[in-house]
C-alpha cells in the first residue's frame, strides 16, 4: 500500500493525465446506461401506442447519438482528448484501443445478428432491444480498454 502511494506520488504528469482519461472512459458506460434504459422504455411505449407524443422519439434519438460518445472518447476525438493528444497517444494506447475496438466490433456484430433473428419473430421486441445491444458494444470497448490499461499499470508497479 505504502509502496503504491510512493509510486503514485512519483508518477509523471503524463501518467496522471492518462489515468484520469482512462477513469473517465470507465465511468462513461455507467453514465449512459440510464439514458439507454429510459430510451428503451419510451420506445416501447411509443411502439405500443401508449405514448404517441414525439418526445419519446426525440429521447430515443438522443440516446442513440449519446451512445456514440463512448467510442468517440475512446478514439480520442472528443474536445478534451484532442487537447491532450500529445500526452494520451502512445504505442501502447494505440494497441489497447485496437484490441478494444475489435472486441466491440464482434460484440456488436453478434448482438445485431441476434436482434435480427429476434426481429423476424417479434419486430417490436427487437426494436426495443437494439439500444441495449449498441450500449453493450460501446461499453465493451470502454471496459476492455480500461482493463488493459489497468493490467499494464499493475504489471508496471509489480516490476518496479
Amino acid at each position: 500500500m505504502g509502496g503504491n502511494t510512493r509510486q503514485r506520488a512519483g508518477e509523471s504528469y503524463r501518467d496522471r493525465v492518462q489515468r484520469d482519461w482512462v477513469r473517465r472512459i470507465t465511468v462513461l458506460p455507467g453514465a449512459t446506461l440510464g439514458i439507454t434504459l429510459i430510451a428503451m422504455m419510451r420506445a416501447d411505449e411509443w411502439l405500443s401506442g401508449e405514448d404517441p407524443g414525439l418526445s419519446g422519439v426525440i429521447l430515443a434519438g438522443a440516446a442513440a447519438i449519446n451512445l456514440l460518445l463512448i467510442p468517440l472518447m475512446l478514439m480520442g476525438w472528443d474536445g478534451g482528448s484532442r487537447k491532450q493528444k500529445r500526452l494520451l497517444e502512445d504505442e501502447l494506447t494505440r494497441a489497447y484501443r485496437a484490441s478494444a475496438i475489435t472486441c466491440a466490433f464482434w460484440m456488436l456484430l453478434v448482438g445485431a445478428m441476434g436482434v435480427y433473428l429476434v426481429g423476424l419473430w417479434k419486430p417490436h421486441v427487437a426494436v426495443v432491444a437494439l439500444p441495449m445491444v449498441l450500449w453493450v458494444a460501446a461499453a465493451t470497448a470502454a471496459l476492455r480498454f480500461a482493463q488493459l490499461h489497468r493490467r499494464a499499470e499493475r504489471e508496471m508497479e509489480a516490476y518496479d
Binding site: F105, A112, G119
Partner: protein, 224 residues
C-alpha cells in the same frame, strides 16, 4: 509435414474442393426436379437450391484461391502471393454478400409472412453466414485468412486490420443507431434495414483493409 510436401499436396486439396463444389452444383438440380414433380413446394425448393449453390460457390471459390502454406514468395520483396488472393477473396465476399443479403432478407421476411418459420430461419441463417464470413476472413479465422498470420508483413497486417476493424465498427454502430431510428416508423422495417447495416459494417472493414494494402503496395512500388 515439410514445406515441399505441403506444396505438393496443394493440387490434391484444390481438386478435392473443386470436386465437392461440382457435386453441389449437380445436387442443386435435385430440388428443382422434386419441385417440378410436386414433391417440394416453392419455398422448400428455393431454400434447398440456395443451400446447394452456396456450398458450391464457397468451395469453388476456396479451390480457386487456395494457397499452400508456407506462402511462396513471388520473387518481389515483401509481396507474397497470399495478399492479392486474400484481397480478391474479401472483395468477392463483399459483392456476393450484398447479393445474398438482398435476396436472403426478402426471402426470410416473405417466408415468415407465409408462416414458413423453418424456411425463414434457414434464409436468415444464410444471410448471417455471409455477413460473418467477410469479417472472419479479415480477422484470419477463415482457412484462407489463416495464411495471413504467416505473412512476412505480419505487423503491417495487424496494424491495417486494427484500422479496418475500427472503420467497420463505426459504420456498424452508426448503422445500428440509424436502423433503430428508422424502425420507429414501422418495427418490421428493422428486419430489412439491419442486415444491410451489418453488411455495410463488415464490408467497410474489408474494403478499408484492401485499400490500405493497395496503398502500401503503391508506396513500395514508388520506393523501389
Amino acid at each position: 509435414m515439410t514445406d515441399s510436401k505441403k506444396r505438393r499436396s496443394a493440387p490434391r486439396i484444390r481438386l478435392g474442393l473443386a470436386l465437392v463444389a461440382v457435386m453441389s452444383f449437380i445436387c442443386a438440380g435435385l430440388p428443382v426436379w422434386m419441385w417440378h414433380d410436386g414433391l417440394l413446394d416453392t419455398v422448400e425448393m428455393s431454400t434447398s437450391l440456395i443451400m446447394c449453390l452456396v456450398v458450391g460457390f464457397t468451395l469453388g471459390g476456396s479451390a480457386l484461391t487456395y494457397t499452400p502454406e508456407p506462402i511462396p514468395d513471388t520473387g518481389r520483396i515483401g509481396k507474397p502471393v497470399v495478399e492479392p488472393n486474400l484481397s480478391w477473396q474479401l472483395v468477392s465476399n463483399v459483392v456476393a454478400g450484398l447479393l445474398w443479403t438482398a435476396w436472403g432478407t426478402m426471402q426470410a421476411v416473405s417466408a415468415f409472412g407465409d408462416e414458413h418459420h423453418f424456411a425463414g430461419y434457414a434464409y436468415a441463417s444464410l444471410v448471417l453466414l455471409w455477413l460473418y464470413v467477410s469479417p472472419a476472413t479479415l480477422m484470419g479465422w477463415a482457412p484462407q485468412g489463416k495464411q495471413l498470420r504467416d505473412d512476412p508483413d505480419r505487423e503491417l497486417n495487424h496494424a491495417f486490420r486494427a484500422r479496418a476493424t475500427a472503420s467497420g465498427f463505426w459504420v456498424l454502430l452508426a448503422g445500428g443507431a440509424a436502423a433503430f431510428l428508422i424502425s420507429f416508423s414501422a418495427p418490421a422495417m428493422l428486419t430489412y434495414v439491419l442486415p444491410f447495416a451489418l453488411w455495410l459494417g463488415g464490408s467497410v472493414a474489408c474494403v478499408h483493409f484492401v485499400w490500405l494494402h493497395r496503398q502500401a503496395d503503391k508506396g513500395l512500388g514508388d520506393d523501389g
